[in-house]
């Protein structure tokens, strides 16, 4: 029996001359609808009589089904030539490789930042921390220009101000925190208006520049304090 040419005119085979590989290929083409109408009819005639052709078709279905069910390897999913059946994909395949593990990283990163700020603050507050500068003329300078000793003073002042904030918030509930930062935490008028005149004389606040880590820490600190004071009210 002549199977004729496929739709693609690429092969002409005869039933008598078919080896097993030819038969398997023909069965695959039949299953995937790649045969011409004539070739399809001829193959179906053989299916009616030839048990080998039937079994070849069963194997073609098994193989195609297995290939269709194989998931696309993740390292190749991003390339243009790999597409998974949409209904087959689950969420972990859709997500980029790093996306799946990033959910827990956000809180962890915040905790790490807060922890670093606390450690840095402790280093400045601890009397066993960095030794006092023995050479006043060669003070190390922080990245924003404030000297280390200035930062130490700022830290002390921040602690005292923080304690002060616990009992008497610097800002009202209606006043945004940003306004506090814009005006500067150590604004002289605020301190004096709260009845702490001595503090102004002990620290030359005007020449101090708050390092960025302290401003970040203070922002968190202020938020917490404001929330607590709200709860108390």
């Amino acid at each position: 029996m002549t199977y004729g040419k496929t739709k693609n005119n690429s092969m002409t085979t005869k039933s008598n001359g078919l080896n097993s590989l030819d038969l398997e290929w023909l069965a695959f083409q039949y299953f995937t609808d790649e045969l011409t109408e004539d070739a399809r009819i001829q193959f179906e005639n053989s299916l009616e009589k030839d048990q080998l052709a039937r079994e070849a078709l069963a194997r073609a279905v098994e193989l195609t089904q297995a290939v269709a069910m194989v998931e696309v390897p993740s390292h190749e999913a991003a390339s243009n030539d790999t597409v998974c059946l949409p209904s087959e994909m689950d969420a972990t395949q859709i997500l980029p490789p790093n996306r799946a593990s990033s959910a827990w990283m956000a809180p962890t990163a915040w905790l790490a930042v807060v922890g670093l700020v606390c450690v840095a603050a402790l280093l400045y507050w601890n009397p066993l921390g960095p030794p006092a500068n023995l050479h006043p003329g060669s003070q190390p300078v922080t990245e924003n220009g404030a000297s280390a000793s200035d930062s130490g003073e700022l830290a002390s002042l921040w602690v005292e101000t923080g304690e002060f904030l616990v009992t008497t918030p610097l800002v009202s509930e209606d006043e945004p925190v940003d306004g506090l930062l814009d005006n500067g935490l150590l604004d002289d008028r605020q301190l004096e208006s709260q009845g702490e005149p001595g503090m102004r004389s002990e620290v030359d606040v005007d020449r101090l520049q708050a390092p960025s880590w302290m401003m970040a820490a203070f922002t968190v600190f202020t938020d917490v304090e404001m929330q607590e004071s709200r709860h108390e009210n």
Binding site: N8, E24, E44, L57, A68, V72
Partner: protein
């Protein structure tokens, strides 16, 4: 017991046939009908015919007899009901939820695992064509155009890939 009933084939024989060849028969029917649900219907009809008239088949040809009857049942069903052309997609989806003999979960998982390994061992150009044909369901003509290769090359690569995958599947573990 009527004469017809006494002439029926022993149900145990049908059960053995189904156990031995049911999965293969179902795949064959899927190949003919391109629809797993219709294939299941055809299989049921064929088994009924086997019980009613299977005694007429010689023992050594019962398998071929069952396949032939099933094929005729499939053609009858196909004439009654038009089937869509999205067979690859439906096949993959159905296979994941099917509980019939052709889709024994453990066997299915093993086959998929072996095919996955075999796919990884295919040359890149062959693997690309397999994916384009089976996953993306593109015709060989479209594949050849997109890859800018002769149609015969696309076909020969696919054929070589399927042959290699088949041989890997046939290898004993």
């Amino acid at each position: 017991m009527t004469a017809d009933e006494s002439a029926r084939i022993d149900p145990a024989i049908v059960e053995t046939l189904l156990s031995d060849h049911g999965a293969e028969l179902e795949r064959f029917l899927i190949g003919v009908l391109r629809d797993p649900q219709l294939a299941g219907d055809a299989l049921q009809n064929a088994l009924v015919k086997m019980v009613e008239r299977g005694h007429t088949a010689q023992e050594e040809t019962r398998k071929a007899w069952l396949f032939r009857v099933a094929y005729n049942e499939a053609l009858l069903l196909r004439r009654r009901q038009a089937t869509g052309d999205n067979i690859l997609r439906r096949l993959a989806i159905t296979a994941k939820t099917q509980t019939g003999p052709a889709f024994e979960p453990v066997l299915q998982a093993e086959i998929v695992s072996r095919v996955r390994k075999a796919m990884e061992e295919l040359p890149t150009e062959q693997r690309r064509i397999v994916r384009m044909r089976i996953y993306e369901q593109k015709t060989f003509k479209v594949i050849a155009e997109e890859l800018q290769i002769p149609l015969g090359t696309a076909l020969s690569r696919m054929r070589a890939a399927m042959g290699q995958l088949r041989s890997k599947l046939a290898e004993p573990e």
